[in-house]
């Protein structure tokens, strides 16, 4: 009896190991090996055809003393805060509207708002370039109808990042709204019924029931939204090429520029590793601030 139990335990363990083996193998080949290799090359000056020259932390020194790199991190953070915060608030309220719509209208609206999510960033950029066009784009036509002068939305250092952020919010709004809706639908109705009997109004219910119950949804949206927004590339690449005056130069666009123009890979990879660390730190900080807990019914 004991031997049979032991054998069963052994095969259970083996099955578990074999089940995770394909993903471990794929992760090793496509994620861990390139990461280790990238870290190694970031300590070298390597131009492919000459033996790599070990330079220690010199590439990191170059990255960390580069003003443009720091500016790009600040631009990335500003963009992420704008897109995640605005997207979050708008989606939170919109999901409440969706929840109370009739099934037929709700299905139509859900499909409509999800369309921007499945459109590629390139198409979104093209659409918003038409909207922000100077002097006769859609937005400037509205501006002119009020008697004001047209505004160079994508070329003015004051407005460029905001303009790109609006496209980012539009692109992610549908996905965030549907996640919020799923989280809302997951909250048992009995909570609200009990709260109503106790005399709690809409705001009290939202503060004491809705928000605490959706904490895990919030964590997911903020973490994925923030790390996704910090890595934005296609929108600034196509709409402003990082300008004007580097006001929309995001970290990944900065890295891409160096990958394209530098003759060695060391600087590009050192910058990538630093961005990787920044992203990891920010994600960990968000986890810490919004403690993810198992929801207990």
């Amino acid at each position: 009896m004991f031997a049979i139990k032991n054998r069963k335990k052994f095969w259970d363990g083996m099955t578990g190991l074999l089940m995770i083996a394909p993903m471990t193998l794929l992760l090793s080949v496509f994620a861990i090996t390139p990461l280790v290799s990238a870290i190694k090359v970031s300590f070298e000056n390597w131009s492919f055809y000459q033996p790599p020259e070990f330079v220690g932390f010199h590439n990191y020194y170059l990255v960390l003393t580069d003003n443009r790199f720091f500016k790009s991190i600040v631009v990335g953070i500003k963009y992420a805060i704008t897109v995640v915060t605005c997207g979050f608030v708008v989606a939170f309220f919109f999901s409440h509207v969706l929840k109370h719509l009739s099934t037929r209208i709700s299905s139509f609206v859900k499909t409509s708002i999800y369309i921007p999510t499945i459109i590629s960033g390139i198409i979104v950029s093209m659409i918003f370039m038409f909207i922000f066009q100077y002097p006769a784009g859609l937005l400037n036509t509205v501006v002119k109808s009020f008697g004001s002068s047209p505004i160079p939305w994508l070329a003015n250092p004051q407005y460029a990042l905001t303009s790109i952020s609006i496209s980012g919010i539009w692109m992610g709004f549908g996905f965030t709204s549907l996640l919020m809706l799923a989280g809302l639908n997951d909250i048992p109705k009995s909570y609200y019924e009990a709260a109503s009997l106790d005399g709690a109004g809409f705001l009290k219910q939202m503060w004491h029931i809705t928000i605490p119950s959706m904490r895990n949804t919030f964590v997911f949206i903020v973490i994925t939204g923030f790390s996704g927004a910090l890595q934005v590339f296609d929108l600034p690449f196509l709409m402003t090429q990082g300008g004007p005056l580097d006001r929309t130069l995001t970290p990944i666009l900065f890295i891409y520029q160096h990958f394209k123009n530098d003759v060695t890979l060391g600087y590009t990879l050192a910058a990538s590793v630093v961005v990787f660390i920044v992203l990891g730190t920010i994600s960990a900080a968000i986890f810490k601030v919004i403690k993810s807990e198992k929801f207990v019914d």
Binding site: D12, P22, Y49, Y134, P152, W153, Q241
Partner: protein
């Protein structure tokens, strides 16, 4: 029992994945093989690549060639096929790579040690790639007579330290002034008298400007300014970095005057504060959003293709110079050349192919020119019957612009970004020109120090 079956299935799936991965690796690592392989996705373009039996196939030396076709795949396939037929010991395999993916794909292949034997290289990339040991000399493959078929300024562009490393395939000027005759007549200007000086350029822009049209479309943002300014610098005979790359040379009266031109055009709103389109795109002029436009040589073909209705209204002249000087550069020359990868195992065969294709029978490159309306690079090709020469605007490039054009510079791109930032600070932030140039000087000196550029110019 069920558990064991489950484990068995997982094992089978794992083995299948591993085998699939291994077979995929083989396909990728064959690039440098000296024998003709059968599992490449590249187009062989050869009539005898798969008919003469195994032995002959094994004796052949395969030359891999990455090309960037512009709707002229047939020209590549036909000529590669002809070359393979005429050279029984060599098998050229051509792969088509889109232009915007070429640089990234080549870099990835170089890092993996599987770069093709014959590569397309832009003129401006040749010196740095030679310094880094990435290109093999072409001197043994091309005869003096073939080199002498090139104009002196073009020959200089492919020469580093006395050796030639690439043979030109095409050449394009980065800038010319395009304008429309109908707009000139409408504004009371004589279409036969284009602006020749910077002051005239400003004056013409003022006259052409209307409520719905800017006087001129020019590069104005940090994306286009860095690479489109080279011709303007060459026109003034200046560079933002000293020839030996030891110090900044941007804080000069010439640069002050150049940025002053942009400042005037911006302040008077003669050009749009937000680019009306990318620099390469002739839409602003073609659709009437601008009365004149600075654009590259490629715009002629683009206008003929996209805006045929107004093509006859377009006139092309060299970009005006500060005081109307003639015989000076008004543009840089860019474009593609073919070179041999330094790690190629078949340099001799690759050299034979380049020599045959680009420097051999002039009719081959005449066909290339006729297919996609590109300017001929060789003197012997220019003497043939070319469609390109039928358009008087194209003639302007051959006679008035390209003979004086200089190569695009090969110094660190961040230097050029520093120049573009200076222009943007003046036009967008209203910083004084002297302050913007002083700051740009400090930035460039900082780049030189941090990247240890001093003394590293490969052509010094």
């Amino acid at each position: 029992m069920k558990l064991r079956n489950g484990v068995l299935w997982v094992l089978i799936v794992l083995i299948t994945i591993t085998l699939a991965a291994c077979s995929g690796n083989n396909a990728g690592s064959n690039q440098k093989s000296s024998e003709t392989d059968n599992n490449s996705s590249a187009v062989k373009g050869s009539a005898n690549g798969n008919t003469d039996g195994d032995q002959q196939s094994k004796d052949k030396k395969t030359v891999y060639f990455w090309a960037r076709p512009v709707s002229n795949e047939a020209w590549y396939l036909d000529n590669v096929s002809k070359f393979n037929e005429q050279h029984p010991g060599i098998e050229v395999e051509v792969s088509f790579i889109p232009e915007d993916a070429m640089a990234e794909k080549l870099k990835a292949a170089q890092a993996a040690g599987i770069a093709p034997d014959v590569v397309m290289v832009n003129y401006s990339k040749i010196p740095e790639r030679v310094r880094l040991g990435q290109l093999a000399s072409l001197d043994n493959s091309i005869t003096d007579e073939q080199w002498n078929d090139l104009e002196a300024n073009v020959l200089e562009m492919v020469t580093v330290n006395g050796q030639r490393y690439a043979y030109p395939m095409e050449i394009e000027a980065s800038a010319a002034l395009y304008y429309r005759k109908d707009f000139f007549i409408e504004a009371g200007l004589d279409p036969a008298k284009p602006p020749k000086t910077w002051n005239e350029l400003i004056e013409y822009a003022r006259v052409l400007k209307t409520k719905d049209r800017f006087g001129i479309a020019m590069p104005a943002n940090g994306g286009d300014l860095p690479w489109t300014s080279w011709g303007w610098h060459a026109m003034l005979g200046v560079s933002p970095i000293s020839p030996d790359w030891s110090k900044a040379s941007i804080n000069t009266p010439e640069f002050e005057r150049l940025i002053g031109l942009w400042k005037t055009l911006f302040e008077e709103e003669l050009m749009s504060p937000q680019p009306l389109a990318g620099y390469w795109d002739p839409t602003p002029l073609a659709t009437g959003l601008a009365g004149m436009q600075i654009n590259g040589q490629w715009a002629i073909g683009e206008i003929a293709k996209t805006y045929p209705d107004i093509a006859d209204e377009i006139v092309v002249v060299p970009v005006p110079t500060p005081d109307g000087e003639t015989g000076v550069p008004t543009a840089t020359a860019g474009g593609w050349t073919l070179a041999i990868d330094a790690m190629s195992q078949h340099k001799e065969e690759a050299g034979k192919f380049i020599s045959w294709l680009l420097a051999g029978d002039p009719q081959i490159m005449a066909d290339y020119s006729n297919d996609i309306l590109k300017a001929p690079v060789r003197k012997s090709v220019a003497q043939l019957d070319l469609k390109y020469l039928e358009d008087s605007n194209n003639q302007v490039f051959l006679t008035d612009i390209l003979p004086y054009a200089t190569s695009e510079p090969w110094f660190d791109y961040e230097i050029q970004i520093a120049y573009a930032t200076a222009v943007e600070r003046v036009t967008l932030e209203k910083v004084s020109i002297s302050k913007a140039l002083a700051d740009a000087e400090a930035t460039i000196n900082d780049i030189i120090a941090r990247k240890e550029l001093a003394g590293k110019n490969p052509k010094q």
